[in-house]
């Protein structure tokens, strides 16, 4: 699905990380941890083609990301559902249109009518369908972002601190949704600081925990 081979990333002359090797195989579940500023969000952005590596090679679905034009990157993003830390919605559109946006930009808006009710029910937002993003709570926005990320039935789901702004109960609910997706065969990569969330996940699904520290990516140790 997504492979990082000896990847390095520098910004303004400073190296954020290097020699990063990562392979996200189909149906796997990964956590990415590490201290703030270690480059977790940057690493995720490399995984969905928003940034270009300054060293090594990133392969998105077998294609070298450095050789892909912007259209090709856009097409690959349709196979990757992204849940952002700050959600990123279009505030002037109601929730249904925000969630259906990936279908809309792909010219598949006709599918929205059949998919949306089930999807809204799955994330528990059926009653908020007509509301606008600023009217939603933090947890509702995170669940809406997850619904938007999966509406295209992507192969990979990448979530950046999806539980950062929600309480424990809501974190559990979001985790359950992500585990359900993984059980459906989706590859999941979650960046998080929340060790309790990782422990909760490990009790339900086989996960691989990666730690980004001191400019290197490594398998997390026993402290978990």
């Amino acid at each position: 699905m997504i492979e990082l081979d000896n990847v390095a990333y520098s910004y303004g002359g400073a190296e954020l990380f290097s020699q990063v090797k990562l392979k996200l195989a189909a149906g796997t579940f990964h956590f990415l941890t590490g201290p703030s500023g270690a480059g977790k969000t940057t690493l995720l952005k490399l995984c969905y083609g928003e940034l270009q590596a300054t060293g090594g090679q990133v392969r998105l679905f077998g294609e070298d990301a450095a050789m892909m034009d912007r259209d090709a990157v856009a097409m690959s993003r349709r196979r990757i559902g992204v849940v952002h830390q700050d959600c990123q919605f279009l505030d002037h559109l109601p929730l249904t249109e925000n969630i259906a946006l990936p279908l809309t930009v792909s010219g598949r808006e006709a599918e929205a009518a059949s998919n949306l009710p089930d999807l809204l029910g799955w994330v528990g937002l059926s009653n908020q369908a007509a509301q606008f993003p600023p009217q939603l709570s933090g947890g509702e926005r995170q669940r809406a972002a997850l619904a938007r990320a999966v509406i295209m039935s992507p192969d990979v789901i990448i979530a950046d601190e999806p539980t950062g702004n929600v309480d424990w109960e809501m974190s559990q609910r979001l985790l359950t949704l992500l585990i359900e997706l993984n059980k459906m065969g989706k590859t999941v990569l979650i960046a998080t600081h929340d060790m309790n969330l990782i422990r909760a996940a490990k009790s339900q699904v086989t996960t691989r925990v990666l730690r980004l520290k001191d400019r290197r990516l490594m398998q997390a140790g026993v402290e978990l």
Partner: protein
């Protein structure tokens, strides 16, 4: 380049979903509408000037080329005889359709702007003028001058070349200036719409980020902006054009304004020409916005 009619229809029909993704932007919308309207208004005047000066040049060229003047400055006792001789020469000259001596009243009318009314033309040693009207083929001025020199030595032929050519050249230059003005107006419209489009793109950076995040291609994002600006330019230019045509229609007529403004405005089928301005403004907006959008999206990636 083959014109793709289907693409034009697609553009006009648009993609309502793509349009909805970009929030309405009041400031840039008003700026584009106003710019397109004002520029179209000015373009109508530039076009009217161009067409009017073109007509003027053609008319001067045609009218003056078909007439000449023969001036006979002879002593009073020989004047009638020389006029008769000159008319005889003219009436037998190939290419001359008609020739006639101006009456004292006509000569008085010609001098009236300088000397006032009631000038005693008969008592003054004023040359006698003969108006010559050419037929379609025209006469040979050099040959006529040679014959007149032999038979009417006091006659001086003025075929208007001396002052006709600078007048026509001036009219042609005015016409060119009109078209240059239209080109400048088009370029200014493009520049203003580019700025407005860039402002709209900058104001919608978050929208662009979100659309990219969910897999929108650059052309899809650009299309939402392009269609919006194209339609605004079309509507603004249509309003400006109609207002400009109305203003041109209100210009004083030749009878009221006198000779100088004769024919300034549109005549006959020329009234159809301003209707090309709105589609042209829309085309300018289309290409300006498309270029600006794709460039900005490239820079933002």
């Amino acid at each position: 380049m083959k014109f793709d009619f289907r693409r034009l229809i697609d553009l006009i029909a648009g993609d309502p979903q793509a349009d909805r993704a970009v929030p309405p932007t009041g400031f840039t919308a008003r700026l584009t509408l106003f710019t397109a309207g004002a520029m179209a208004f000015l373009a109508v005047f530039a076009m009217a000037l161009s067409l009017a000066t073109g007509r003027l040049a053609d008319r001067w060229s045609a009218e003056l080329a078909r007439t000449s003047t023969l001036r006979i400055s002879a002593p009073a006792d020989q004047a009638d005889a020389q006029v008769r001789a000159a008319l005889a020469v003219l009436n037998t000259t190939p290419g001359v359709a008609a020739a006639r001596a101006l009456t004292p009243d006509e000569q008085r009318a010609l001098l009236e702007p300088w000397f006032g009314p009631d000038l005693p033309v008969e008592d003054l040693p004023i040359p006698q003028l003969i108006e010559i009207i050419e037929d379609g083929s025209g006469y040979d001025p050099a040959g006529l001058r040679a014959r007149l020199q032999a038979e009417v030595p006091a006659a001086v032929l003025d075929d208007h070349t001396r002052w006709r050519e600078p007048l026509i050249a001036a009219a042609m230059r005015l016409r060119s200036l009109g078209w240059v003005a239209i080109l400048l107006i088009g370029a200014s419209t493009g520049a203003m719409i580019t700025l407005a489009a860039q402002a709209a793109l900058a104001a919608n950076a978050q929208v662009i980020r979100v659309m990219r995040l969910v897999g929108a291609r650059d052309i899809y994002i650009a299309r939402a902006f392009v269609r919006r600006f194209t339609l605004r330019a079309l509507v603004g230019a249509a309003i400006g054009t109609v207002a400009g045509m109305f203003a041109v229609w209100l210009l004083p007529s030749a009878d009221v304004a006198g000779g100088f403004l004769t024919g300034l405005g549109f005549q006959g089928a020329h009234w159809l020409w301003p209707f090309v301005i709105p589609p042209l403004a829309a085309a300018v907006a289309f290409f300006a916005t498309r270029a600006a959008a794709l460039r900005t999206l490239r820079e933002q990636s």
